[in-house]
Symmetry: C2
Subunit: 111 residues, 2 copies
């Protein structure tokens, strides 16, 4: 990370913010299997249509998803392979952090 300007920092924060929500991560997880219509996603998550639509909008605005109108439906898909790479990296980090914490807890604060 070089010196980032205020705008760039805010953009990066916005990117992370889009990912900082369980429901949106579930949507990404679902879309990882392939493109899906809003209705299919509503079904898959068991959430309200309004809720899913709004979260999809957030992900789309953040540039994480692309979409395409198909008849009366809108089909969403993950915009870039790098998004998945990112999720994988974070999942790995989370696992490592959990392991580190568990280890420290077991050794009673020696980590």
């Amino acid at each position: 990370m070089k010196k980032l300007g205020t705008d760039a920092i805010e953009q990066v924060a916005a990117y992370f913010r889009a990912l900082a929500e369980p429901q949106r991560l579930r949507l990404l997880s679902e879309l990882r299997q392939g493109e899906r219509s809003v209705g299919q996603l509503v079904e898959a998550l068991g959430a309200t249509q309004s809720n899913v639509s709004k979260h999809l909008e957030v992900l789309f605005d953040a540039g994480l998803l692309s979409r395409e109108r198909r008849g009366t439906s809108t089909v969403y898909r993950i915009a870039e392979a790098e998004t998945l790479q990112l999720c994988d990296l974070v999942c790995g980090n989370v696992v490592r952090i959990a392991a580190r914490r568990a280890g420290r807890d077991l050794r009673l604060g020696r980590g």
Copy 2:
């Protein structure tokens, strides 16, 4: 990303949430140069001590930072190299998304 349980999803979201704040990204950017005391970070960001301390707590709780008491000071550092890798990846994504948007804007909605 395999099927993640509710807890795991929430943990990943929490990890992203910790990163979803400009002030915290600035702290990470500062700490990328090496360990720093709270006072040094207050100076570097030009923020209040209370504010910096709280953000450091959030990053620490998320497992992104480690800390060490040294006299009356507390010194923070980035806990894992992977955290930086993550930031770099996101910075790259943000740049690409911006470029994609710019291109689409220029071509009037053909992207």
